[in-house]
C-alpha cells in the first residue's frame, strides 16, 4: 500500500479575473521508503502539490490518501492530527520557532503525542543526534548557521517518527555545499530509518540524489523517472507508468 496516494488532483487559483490552474489532474503514488524529488520550473505547481500531500491545503478536485486514509472531508482538527502523527515538514526558510531553543523546537510537535516529559526530551535529543547537532540543543535558532537550522528542522520533522517527510526546496536558502550536505543527511536517514522523503528542488545536483523524479510542468506531471534517465529536454516526456513501475522495481532490488 502506498504511503501517499493522490488521484486526479486539481487546484485552481483565482488571480483577479483569470484562473490559474496550479494543478490539473495530478495522480501520484509514493511508496514507503521512497526518496522522491519533485522538479519543474517556477510556477509549475511543486509547492501546491506538496501542500496537498501535506494536508495543509485542500484540492478542488481529486483525492489524497495518507497511509491508506483518505483525507477528503476531514475536519481541520482531524487534519491537524494526521499531520501531527504522520507528516514531517521541512521548509525552505527553516521556520524554526525563534523563541524556542533547538531542542525545544524539536520537542514542539511531540507535545501532541502521549509522552512523558522525559521521553519527549530523549526523543528530541535523539533526533538532534541523528542530525549531528546534539551539542547545540540549548541554542536559539538565531545562534545557529543556516545549515544547522535546517538540520534542526529535519530533526523536528523526524522526532515524531512520521510516515512521510515533505520538504519544499529545503536547500534553496543554503549555499550549494551545505545544501548537498542536507540532502545527503536526508538520504542517510532515508536509508537507515526507511523514512519516506518527498522534496522539491531546482538544483540539478540535488536532483541527482533522488531515487525517483517527478517533473511537473504547468500543473501536470510530465515525467516520472530517475535523474540519470531523466532528460530535461523532454525526450522522455511521455514515459509511461508501466516503465515507471519497472524502474521502481529495479531500484527496490538494488538495495
Amino acid at each position: 500500500m502506498p504511503v501517499v496516494d493522490c488521484q486526479g488532483l486539481v487546484r485552481d487559483y483565482a488571480l483577479g479575473k483569470t484562473i490559474v490552474h496550479a494543478l490539473r489532474n495530478v495522480s501520484l503514488s509514493v511508496d514507503e521508503g521512497d526518496f522522491l524529488a519533485i522538479v519543474g520550473s517556477s510556477g509549475s505547481g511543486k509547492t501546491t502539490l506538496l501542500n496537498m500531500i501535506g494536508c495543509i491545503d485542500t484540492p478542488d478536485g481529486g483525492t489524497v490518501s495518507i497511509d491508506g486514509q483518505p483525507t477528503g472531508g476531514l475536519s481541520s482538527d482531524d487534519l491537524a492530527d494526521v499531520r501531527s502523527q504522520k507528516i514531517g515538514f521541512i521548509f525552505q526558510t527553516f521556520n524554526l520557532i525563534p523563541v524556542l531553543s533547538a531542542v525545544e523546537n524539536v520537542e514542539y510537535p511531540l507535545l501532541r503525542h502521549r509522552l512523558s516529559s522525559k521521553e519527549r526530551r530523549d526523543r528530541a535529543l535523539h533526533a538532534l543526534e541523528m542530525v549531528e547537532l546534539g551539542h547545540v540543543g540549548k541554542n536559539k535558532p538565531n545562534e545557529l548557521s543556516g545549515g544547522q537550522r535546517q538540520r534542526v528542522a529535519i530533526a523536528r520533522a523526524l522526532a515524531v517518527n512520521p510516515r512521510i517527510v515533505l520538504a519544499d526546496e529545503p536547500t534553496a536558502n543554503l549555499d550549494h555545499k551545505t545544501g548537498l550536505n542536507i540532502l545527503h543527511l536526508m538520504k542517510r536517514i532515508n536509508k537507515q530509518a526507511g523514512t519516506t522523503f518527498i522534496f522539491s528542488t531546482h538544483d540539478p545536483k540535488v536532483m541527482e540524489l533522488a531515487e525517483r523524479l517527478v517533473e511537473l510542468e504547468d500543473g501536470e506531471i510530465t515525467t516520472v523517472g530517475t535523474y540519470r534517465r531523466w532528460d530535461p529536454t523532454g525526450a522522455l516526456a511521455h514515459l509511461s507508468h508501466h516503465i515507471d513501475d519497472i524502474i521502481d522495481n529495479m531500484f527496490e532490488h538494488e538495495y
Partner: protein, 417 residues
C-alpha cells in the same frame, strides 16, 4: 490526550507566550506601560475620590449629624412645624437602650428651635440647638472655632454662633445678644446670652444660621424640659446600618414610638457629591478601559501580523487552530497580568508619595474650608485595577487571536522569508 500531555502542552504554550512577550522589548514595554498607566490612573483617581468621600463623610458626621439621629416617630416629617408635639418620650430610657448597644461610642441630646437674634442694632433669624456642651464638643470635631472658645459646661448663658450668622448682625466674641422665640404656651420669651465663640464647619449654609447654647438654657427659654433628638456617635462609621437595625428592633420590641435616621439619609449634600464624583469616576473607568483595550489590541495585532509565518508553521506541524488561539489569548493574559501588577505596584507607590505630600484642595462647594486630600489605597480599587487590566487584556486579544487561528495555513506559510 491524557492530563499530563495537556499540562505539558499548556506549559509549553505558556513558555512560548512568555518568551514571545519579551521578544520585542520596546513594544512590550510600551504596552505594559499603557496597561500600568491605566491601573495607576484608576488607583490614584479612585483613591483620591475615596479620600474626598471619606473626609466629606467624616466632616458631615462630625459637623452636626452624628451617625444616627433618634426622634419621636413623625418628627422628621412634621417636627419642624410643631416642635413641641414631637419631644422624645422618656428620653432617659431611650438613651439607656442606645448606650447599651455595642459599637455605640456616646449619645448626646439636642433641642432645636428657631427664632430671632438681636444685637441691639440688627435682628436676624436663627436656628438654635440646645446641646450638652461637653458631649457636643466631642461629636463636633469638624466644628472649628474661628474666634473665642467652645461652649463650656458651667457657663449657662454662653453661646457660640456660626460665622455667617455672627457676621450678619455684626457681633464679636464678648458681645451680648438676645434670643427671642415662642414658648410652648405660645407666648414670646427672650433670653440674653454672651457670645463665647464664633464657629464654622464644612457647611457654609449651616454656619449662616446656626447657634448653639447649653441645653438647660434652651429649655428655660422654651419653658419645656424635653429634648427632640438624641444624636448617636459610633466607634466606626461602617457600623451605621447594623446599629440602626439593631436599635430599630429594640425600640420595636419595647413598643417605643421612636424613629431613627442615619447620617446618609440626612446628608443630602454628601449624597450629591458622591453621586457626582461617582459618575465622573465611571467616565474615567470607561476611558481607561478603552485605552487599555486599544493598546493591547494593537500590540496583539502587530505581534500576530509579524508572526503570521510562525503561525503557519505550527499549524503545519500539527497544532490545532484552538491551540493557536490559546497561545495568543495566553499572551494577552500574561501581558494583562504583568501590566496589571506593574500598575498596582506603581499605583501604590505613587499614592504613598502623593499622600505624603498632600493635595491642597480648595473649599468644597458650599463650604469655606480648604483641605488637604490624600490618596486612599483600598483593596476594592486594587482588585478593580488588576481585574480591569486582565479582563481588558483578554478581551482585546480575542479578535486578533481568532484572526490568527483562522489563517489559511498555506497563506500564512508564505509570510516566511
Amino acid at each position: 490526550m491524557p492530563l499530563s500531555t495537556h499540562a505539558a502542552t499548556l506549559l509549553q504554550t505558556f513558555r512560548i507566550a512568555f518568551r514571545n512577550i519579551f521578544r520585542n522589548k520596546v513594544r512590550t514595554t510600551i504596552t505594559l506601560a499603557a496597561i500600568a498607566f491605566g491601573g495607576i490612573s484608576l488607583i490614584l483617581t479612585g483613591g483620591f475620590i475615596r479620600d474626598i468621600f471619606e473626609q466629606l463623610r467624616e466632616a458631615t458626621i462630625h459637623s452636626q449629624l452624628g451617625h444616627l439621629q433618634v426622634y419621636r416617630e413623625g418628627f422628621y416629617e412634621k417636627g419642624t412645624a410643631q416642635p413641641f408635639q414631637y419631644m422624645i418620650p422618656e428620653p432617659e430610657k431611650v438613651r439607656e437602650t442606645i448606650v447599651a448597644t455595642p459599637s455605640v461610642s456616646f449619645v448626646t441630646p439636642r433641642l432645636e428651635f428657631s427664632g430671632l437674634l438681636s444685637s441691639g442694632e440688627t435682628t436676624t433669624s436663627f436656628l438654635a440647638q440646645g446641646v450638652d456642651p461637653a458631649m457636643e464638643k466631642r461629636l463636633g470635631t469638624f466644628v472649628l472655632m474661628g474666634e473665642g472658645d467652645y461652649l463650656s459646661a458651667g457657663d449657662r448663658y454662653g453661646a457660640i454662633l456660626g460665622r455667617g450668622l455672627a457676621a450678619s448682625i455684626n457681633v464679636k466674641v464678648g458681645d451680648t445678644v438676645t434670643l427671642l422665640t415662642n414658648t410652648r404656651a405660645g407666648s414670646i420669651n427672650a433670653i440674653q446670652v454672651k457670645v463665647r465663640g464664633i464657629f464654622y464647619t464644612f457647611y457654609k449654609e449651616y454656619d449662616d444660621r446656626a447657634l448653639k447654647i447649653p441645653l438647660e438654657t434652651a429649655q428655660e427659654l422654651l419653658q419645656h424640659d424635653g429634648i427632640q433628638s438624641l444624636v448617636v456617635v459610633l466607634k466606626r462609621t461602617d457600623d451605621t446600618e447594623a446599629v440602626r437595625k439593631k436599635l430599630a428592633a429594640s425600640f420595636a420590641e419595647t413598643r417605643q414610638p421612636i424613629e431613627i435616621k442615619s447620617w446618609t439619609e440626612l446628608a443630602e449634600f454628601y449624597q450629591k457629591v458622591v453621586d457626582l464624583y461617582s459618575r465622573q469616576f465611571t467616565v474615567i473607568k470607561v476611558i481607561i478601559t478603552i485605552v487599555v483595550i486599544l493598546s493591547i489590541g494593537n500590540t496583539m495585532s502587530m505581534s500576530i501580523y509579524e508572526r503570521t509565518g510562525e503561525i503557519g508553521t505550527v499549524m503545519a506541524i500539527g497544532s490545532r487552530r484552538r491551540s493557536v488561539l490559546q497561545m495568543f489569548l495566553l499572551e494577552g493574559l500574561v501581558l494583562g497580568i504583568l501590566g496589571g501588577l506593574a500598575g498596582l505596584f506603581l499605583g501604590i507607590l505613587l499614592a504613598q508619595i502623593i499622600s505624603f505630600i498632600g493635595i491642597p484642595m480648595p473649599p468644597a462647594p458650599g463650604s469655606t474650608v480648604p483641605y488637604t486630600a490624600r490618596i486612599q489605597v483600598y483593596p476594592g480599587i486594587l482588585g478593580f485595577a488588576l481585574g480591569l487590566s486582565i479582563v481588558t487584556s483578554i478581551i482585546s486579544s480575542i479578535y486578533p487571536s481568532l484572526k490568527a487561528s483562522r489563517l489559511e495555513i498555506v497563506d500564512a506559510l508564505r509570510h516566511n522569508v
